[in-house]
């Protein structure tokens, strides 16, 4: 019975691509998606932080996912999307290349990280789904936001 339930338990994922890779975030961690405008760069901040912006009166810290995951740098002038996340009373925006659809996937389908997964990805990944023709890396939001551990490790 429990096994049945586990098989049936579905989670919604907000998907997005960054540097050609498909990622998924559990939908309950996503507040909203928005098109970021007027990002104020913060001097002296780490490269992973794209800046701060005003989202309806709230100050959102924008994190550049390409830099966060140490993927190829983005071309200048490319339009971006942002995924809004709340953590510890603060608002964050993950800057991604493009948003995908929301996928409903069974928890039982989720596989642990392949041992040879890129180390930078493995650090923030909570598992992998094998979809038709491509892999989706599930991101662990808390680990994505934990910039300090990364800096210390680096």
């Amino acid at each position: 019975m429990t096994a049945m339930n586990d098989n049936l338990k579905l989670t919604d994922y907000v998907t997005f691509t960054t540097a050609g890779q498909l990622f998924g975030l559990p939908i309950e961690r996503v507040q909203e998606v928005f098109r970021p405008t007027r990002i104020t760069r913060v001097p002296l901040a780490g490269a992973q932080i794209a800046g701060v912006l005003n989202l309806r009166g709230r100050i959102v810290t924008a994190i550049d996912m390409r830099r966060r995951l140490e993927l190829d740098a983005r071309d200048e002038g490319e339009t971006l999307m942002a995924i809004g996340i709340e953590s510890g009373n603060e608002s964050f925006g993950l800057l991604v290349d493009a948003l995908g659809e929301v996928l409903k996937l069974a928890d039982s389908e989720r596989e642990p990280n392949p041992v040879n997964l890129d180390r930078k990805l493995a650090r923030v990944s909570a598992g992998v789904f094998r979809l038709d023709g491509q892999l989706m890396v599930v991101l662990d939001v808390d680990r994505v936001l934990d910039l300090s551990a990364e800096a210390a490790a680096a």
Binding site: R38, T40, R41, V42, P43, L44, A45, G46, I49, V52, L53, N54, G57, I59, T61, I63, G88, E90, F92, L145, L147
Partner: protein, 851 residues
């Protein structure tokens, strides 16, 4: 946590603080039935509520305390012992409350010890003195309320009954028109209003762009209402500062017991209101300062009586509004700061050299107590001096944009003055631009704005790579915001200089543009950015964009690490020698004559000038130049260094009491921050010695040698009389720095000088066959001080008539009186060169007149 329990904890903690304060009052006025009634009721309420919530430990304690207090009410005499016992009980209750807060249940253990003592006390007193009929003591004001609570306790009434009774009670004792609102609600309200202010600002910005918009009038109204609302909400967050003082009477009372002192704590202006956030933040610093006054400031009763003061010391706290600030003063009538000990400690801790310490004013010396890890308490008491020092007090206050100052009068006490903003949530800020980005700078630390351009009145100048600005006779160190933020090429000569003050440090922040001043709502920094010290927060401007708020403290720290700092207390610098704040000194390195680099403390230099060679005149074999309407003598370091024939001649200008002299140099090399360790002393006049600076052996130039060269001439010109015979002066000073500094000065006044380092060496010199006409002695010397030395001289027939001039770093009335008794010819401050020369001359003239 259970809502009910939380409510109980807040309420009880509040009550207990009041009980603390009331009890101390009660001890002083044992006949005040009103106070007793208050205390009794508070304790009773605690007891009642505890019983209801199932907290037997607390209930038993409160019950025992209540019983004892009941006896007081019945006329039992109030003794300090009994009050201490009740205070102890209250401490225990607080302890248990803390536990409950952490673990949500009563901790294990019992309080039989205390309960027993309380019971014993109550029983004994009753037996000892049968309770007189308390005719003069009226019943406590609301006995009915107590009864209600009692009923609740026994009847095990449901929850509403308790709150009902609690409210009834409060309803009777506080005015009916106040309600309790949780802090969270108020904070939320404040945030919402802040948002509203921002939105309003945005709307105003939009309407500004559309000239005749229909929105204009309603928006104006909205704007006014918003302002009113903002003010109103701010008001709800205001609390009387007395809330932060509530614990102090108890603390002082306990300290009195522990230290065996008598102290009266006076509190004025307790009703002065300030934002609760600020209030929370000043609570600890205030407590610490009061403890300090009680522990270090106020003397023991015997010492006070001996000093002619009342046995009971006074600590006075006062608060008042001044502009957008609240000024809090904490003053004691104790012994004042021991400046000598602070000096010694500062040297011992390596915070400053002996010479620097001697050069500092008393006010500066006092400020050393704010240095980290600085404690002069000879013994560390349990009360203060536990490492949590004045540095923490200062940094806490500075964190909220405040300042702390102190004034100490020996024997009369110390007064701390704290100035803090009323609120932290909304501040006035200057919006500036650097590298096409905007930043907000809190207006509080901005002194003035200076426009700098290469052709204009104010120019950014460079000494090597260090940018400086001449501003009203001061060299103001500059720092480019672009450099601070690493946002691009700096070094532009055009820009705005925001003259910024942090503590006593003043510097200029160079920005590309200045926009306007705006009321900004400070939003906390993202946790991911909090490590950047130069930013203190973020804010949203009227146009909707987010900008960073610059923290002047962070920049000041950066500046003191990277460049020299100008101290506001050292404006016309030559008079007082070195004034560098830390153990490092800013040195100006230059070349003149020989190839070897030379250096002088930057603090001595008034200006750096370049003078057109054609303007240099030669008169009487001396080089002169017209400078600021006066003829200024130009001196060369030695015969090798020549003046340039054409072009611009760089000179260092030194000023002393309105007179200036120029020192001719070939080239200015750099400004460096170094420890000034003179490793090899020099025999050559004009050179103090050699030090290694940036890896090069560098000559440290003795400006003290050159100043009199310029000025002694003037003396001679004024005093037409020429000395007949060169007098011989014996100079006694333990500090090599001063011997080196003063010897050439005295020589320049036409005397021969023998300099020795101690009284013992002086006696030796006096014993030789050399004849001395005058003794100049330092007062502060190890082994034998100047007073004793002088007394000894007086007592010996050979030297009894020898004139003595005393020099001292501290000229106090006492010292002068003592000096007069000994028979000093004169008493001169160590840095008063002109005064010393004048005294020497005058003494010589006296001798001549007598002859």
């Amino acid at each position: 946590m259970d809502d009910l329990l939380r409510e109980f904890l807040t309420e009880t903690n509040e009550s207990l603080e009041r009980v603390d304060a009331e009890l101390v009052r009660f001890e002083r006025e044992p006949n005040n039935a009103n106070i007793l009634g208050n205390i009794f009721r508070l304790v009773h309420t605690i007891k009642g509520t505890c019983g209801f919530l199932g907290l037997p430990r607390l209930e038993a304690l409160a019950h025992a305390a209540e019983t004892l207090m009941g006896k007081f009410r019945d006329g039992m005499p109030v003794t300090a012992d009994a009050v201490t016992l009740i205070l102890n009980t209250i401490d225990r209750i607080k302890l248990i409350l803390d536990e409950i807060e952490a673990q949500e249940k009563e901790p294990d253990g019992g309080d039989t010890d205390l309960i027993h003592r309380l019971a014993l006390r109550a029983a004994k007193e009753v037996g000892a003195s049968p309770p007189p009929q308390p005719t003069q003591l009226s019943e406590p004001p609301e006995p009915e309320a107590s009864v209600v609570a009692e009923n609740v306790e026994t009847a095990d009434a449901p929850e509403p009954a308790l709150t009902q009774s609690a409210h009834d009670e409060r309803g009777e004792r506080v005015a009916n028109h106040s309600i309790r609102v949780s802090v969270g609600t108020l904070d939320h309200l404040m945030t919402t209003v802040s948002e509203l202010v921002l939105t309003r600002n945005q709307l105003l910005e939009i309407v500004r762009r559309h000239e005749d918009s229909d929105f204009k009038v309603p928006l104006q109204r909205l704007s006014n209402v918003t302002a009113e609302l903002q003010e109103g909400v701010m008001k709800t967050r205001m609390q009387p500062i007395g809330n932060a003082w509530q614990k102090l009477p108890r603390i002082v009372r306990d300290l009195c017991g522990e230290l065996g002192k008598e102290i009266d704590l006076k509190m004025l202006g307790a009703e002065t209101e300030l934002d609760r956030q600020v209030l929370e933040l000043v609570k600890d610093p205030l407590t610490h300062l009061v403890r300090n006054c009680a522990d270090h400031g106020i003397e023991e009763a015997a010492a006070r009586i001996a000093a002619g003061k009342p046995a009971k010391g006074t600590i006075q706290l006062s608060a008042c509004h001044q502009g957008g600030h609240i000024i809090i003063e904490i003053a004691d009538d104790g012994r004042g700061l021991d400046l000598d000990r602070i000096r010694a400690k500062a040297v011992e801790k390596g915070l400053a050299s002996e010479a620097e310490v001697a050069a500092k004013s008393d006010a500066d010396i006092c400020n050393f107590i704010f240095a980290p890890g600085f404690s002069t308490a000879a013994r560390v008491t349990s009360i203060s001096g536990r490492g949590v020092g004045m540095d923490v007090v200062r940094s806490n206050i500075e964190q909220i944009g405040g300042t702390v100052d102190l004034r100490s009068v020996a024997g009369a006490g110390v007064k701390f003055t704290i100035k803090i903003p009323l609120t932290l949530a909304i501040v006035s800020a200057l919006v500036v631009e650097s590298a096409s980005e905007r930043f907000a700078l809190p207006q509080l630390s901005v002194l003035e704005l200076v426009r700098a351009s290469s052709g204009g009145e104010h120019r950014i100048e460079r000494i090597k790579d260090t940018p400086v600005l001449r501003l009203r006779n001061k060299l103001l160190p500059l720092i480019y915001l672009r450099d601070v933020l690493r946002t691009g090429e700096s070094g532009a000569n055009d820009g705005f200089i925001v003259v910024t003050q942090v503590g006593s440090q003043i510097f200029g922040l160079v920005v590309d543009g200045v926009f306007h001043t705006e009321e900004i709502v400070i939003k906390p920094m993202s946790s991911k950015l909090r490590h950047i010290a130069v930013f203190s927060g973020t804010t949203i401007l009227g146009d909707g964009s987010v900008i960073m708020i610059i923290d002047p403290n962070g920049i000041a720290q950066l500046l003191s690490r990277t460049a020299q700092t100008a101290r506001d207390d050292a404006p016309e610098l030559t008079e007082r020698g070195q004034t560098a704040a830390e153990d490092v000194v800013s040195l100006l390195v230059f070349r003149a004559g020989s190839h070897q680099p030379k250096a002088v403390p930057l603090s001595l230099v008034t200006r750096l000038e370049e003078i057109d060679c054609r303007k240099i005149e030669i008169s009487d074999g001396r080089h002169l130049v017209q400078y600021r309407g006066h003829l200024m003598p130009l001196l060369r370091l030695d015969t090798q260094s020549g003046l340039k024939q054409d072009g611009a001649q760089p000179i260092l200008v030194f000023s002393d009491g309105g007179r200036s002299m120029g020192l001719v140099v070939d080239e200015i090399i750099d400004i460096v921050e170094e420890r000034l360790d003179i490793e090899v002393a020099s025999e050559r006049p004009g050179v103090l010695g050699y030090a290694v600076i940036k890896g090069n052996a560098t000559e440290i130039v003795d400006i003290g040698h050159f100043l009199p060269q310029a000025f002694a001439d003037w003396f001679r010109r004024r005093d037409v009389k020429i000395e007949r015979r060169a007098r011989t002066v014996l100079l006694v000073d333990d500090s090599a720095f001063f011997r080196d500094m003063l010897t050439p000065l005295i020589k320049a006044a036409g005397c021969q000088v023998v300099a020795v380092s101690s009284a013992a060496a002086a006696f030796e010199a006096l014993g030789s066959d050399r004849r001395f006409d005058l003794v100049i002695t330092d007062i502060e010397m190890p082994d034998m001080d100047g007073f004793t030395f002088a007394e000894k001289l007086r007592s010996m027939p050979a030297t009894a008539a020898l004139p003595i001039i005393a020099i001292t770093a501290v000229v106090s009335a006492d010292a002068i009186a003592r000096g007069r008794a000994i028979g000093f010819y004169d008493f001169v401050a160590k840095f008063d060169r002109t005064g010393l020369i004048a005294a020497i001359k005058e003494q010589g003239a006296d001798v001549e007149r007598a002859a």
